[in-house]
């Protein structure tokens, strides 16, 4: 796998490069700002780009905008956005544009090579990755008392894995249940949560995240 890294801190770029090299992932370029990242992607056409959300000039959400641009112009490059703190607003913005080959992870995960490598493989395979901590928080927040109250414990487990972007097969193996059983749970979840049409496999992550957030949002008065 060939990747590029965009982060304005040298320590982080170097750390990532050597950590990933040990896992057989080759870093073909490094950038410290969005413009440099887009030039690199255009030149190298990597399998994936690891993008820090905070980059110059404003050090706020440059990474999200850069991810949108990459996915618009170079759809063959998957994007994994790293964030210092997980915010549903950012995850939603990232997923609103489509959920194929995109991931949103807490930056702390870079220390866990296996989590990072797994996320890279999944986004390169066209899947979607949402940080488990964000999903956990959304599921235990306002949504828990609202829309999720109707779900069984098992259905909640399935929903949490689904919101993290796991495929039905992956959910089946991590819960040690059959693929058919997962499908049944998913159908029940969508019906109980009144998500009208079961969205395409990848779109469902965006649907779930949006739904979890509505628990805390009242209509404008």
């Amino acid at each position: 796998m060939r990747i590029v890294i965009a982060d304005d801190t040298v320590i982080v770029r170097e750390g990532l490069r050597s950590l990933l090299a040990a896992e057989g992932i080759q870093t073909v370029g490094e950038a410290s700002d969005p413009a440099g990242l887009l030039r690199l992607v255009a030149l190298e056409r990597p399998d994936a780009a690891i993008v820090d959300i905070r980059m110059p000039p404003t050090h706020t959400d440059e990474g999200i905008a850069a991810a949108e641009q990459i996915r618009g112009q170079y759809p063959a490059t998957a994007v994994l956005v790293l964030s210092q703190y997980v915010a549903a607003t950012y995850a939603q913005r990232l997923l609103d544009d489509g959920t194929e080959g995109v991931g949103y992870l807490l930056k702390d995960r870079v220390g866990e090579a296996s989590v990072l490598v797994d996320a890279l493989h999944r986004v390169v395979a066209g899947e979607c990755v949402v940080d488990p901590e964000l999903v956990h928080r959304l599921m235990s927040g306002a949504a828990a008392a609202g829309p999720l109250a109707a779900l069984s414990a098992r259905e909640r487990e399935v929903l949490a894995l689904m919101a993290q972007g796991h495929s039905n097969e992956a959910i089946a193996s991590s819960l040690a249940i059959g693929a058919k059983t997962v499908e049944t749970h998913v159908a029940h979840i969508f019906r109980k949560l009144s998500i009208d049409e079961a969205p395409a496999v990848n779109r469902r992550v965006a649907a779930v995240v949006a739904l979890l957030r509505t628990g805390s949002r009242m209509d404008s008065l």
Binding site: T9, I11, V12, E14, G15, L16, S18, L19, A22, R54, H59, T60, D61, Q84, Y85, A87, A88, T89, K107, D108, V110, G111, E112, A113, R137, L138, S140, G141, A142, A144, A145, G146, R213, G215, S216, R217, M218, D219, S220, L221
Partner: protein
């Protein structure tokens, strides 16, 4: 006459001598002018003190923002780098896998790894306490929405009463930071009072004015004045507290810190 501006006109019977009149009026006139001068001075000092308090709060908020950003862009990045370095050394693929002291080393590195992870969580928590980064990045409405998303004990719902959502506004950063702190603190207080729900309503009032209405279903108890209410007052805001039946449940506490400028 004062600097050529007429201050008062006196009508009198011409029979009385002007000198006599001036003599008898002098003490009263001098006294009232002194009073007026003192009042003007006091008003001026009050206005200056208010302006100073406002500047102090605004400066302190801007320092908080800078401190938060330094923590995220400085300390946190270095800790992330350190976490990766520890992982690399810890990796069993290292050259000295045969080294007899390896198990001991691995144990030490695991401890270091756990510590650095705790430090990362702690830095994030402290940085958020100093100034919630999302407030600068997304504005008050979205930052409160994130606060609601992450609240686990009390179900928080956020609504806007009229007007568009507040985008990040450099002119109102101090106000937004204080409004956010007020909600965060009230949420904590509501939880202590056994609330299960908190409704937050945001209303824009004029150009820079803001009114927050906080209603919960907890036990009714008088909130205490504290640092947050002092910061509201320093920005010439108002904090009004209504105790009594609220919209959520009988006996709910309504708490309205109005940050009206």
């Amino acid at each position: 006459m004062s600097h050529g501006v007429p201050l008062a006109a006196v009508a009198h019977h011409s029979a009385r001598s002007v000198d006599h009149l001036a003599q008898s009026m002098r003490p009263a006139v001098v006294l009232s002018f002194d009073n007026a001068a003192l009042q003007a001075a006091a008003r001026g000092e009050l206005a200056a003190a208010r302006a100073t308090a406002e500047r102090l709060v605004e400066r302190s908020e801007s320092e908080r923002r800078l401190l938060q950003r330094n923590l995220h862009d400085g300390a946190q990045q270095r800790l992330v780098g350190l976490a990766m370095a520890i992982r690399r050394v810890r990796s069993p693929a290292g050259d000295d896998a045969e080294n007899p002291s390896r198990p001991e080393l691995t144990g030490l590195l695991d401890d270091a790894d756990a510590l650095v992870r705790e430090a990362l969580v702690e830095v994030r928590r402290v940085a958020h306490g100093i100034h919630p980064p999302l407030l600068t990045e997304l504005g008050l409405d979205a930052a409160l929405q994130e606060l609601a998303d992450t609240s686990t004990h009390v179900v928080v719902r956020v609504a806007r009463q009229g007007g568009p959502a507040l985008a990040p506004d450099p002119m109102s950063q101090a106000r937004d930071a204080i409004a956010y702190a007020a909600v965060e603190q009230f949420l904590d207080e509501a939880w202590r009072r056994g609330a299960s729900r908190l409704d937050v309503r945001i209303q824009t009032d004029g150009i820079r004015g803001l009114a927050l209405s906080l209603l919960d279903d907890g036990e009714v108890r008088s909130p205490h004045r504290d640092d947050v209410s002092d910061r509201i007052t320093a920005l010439s805001g108002r904090l009004s507290i209504h105790l009594g039946p609220g919209a959520l449940a009988p006996g709910a506490l309504g708490h309205v810190p109005g940050l009206v400028r």
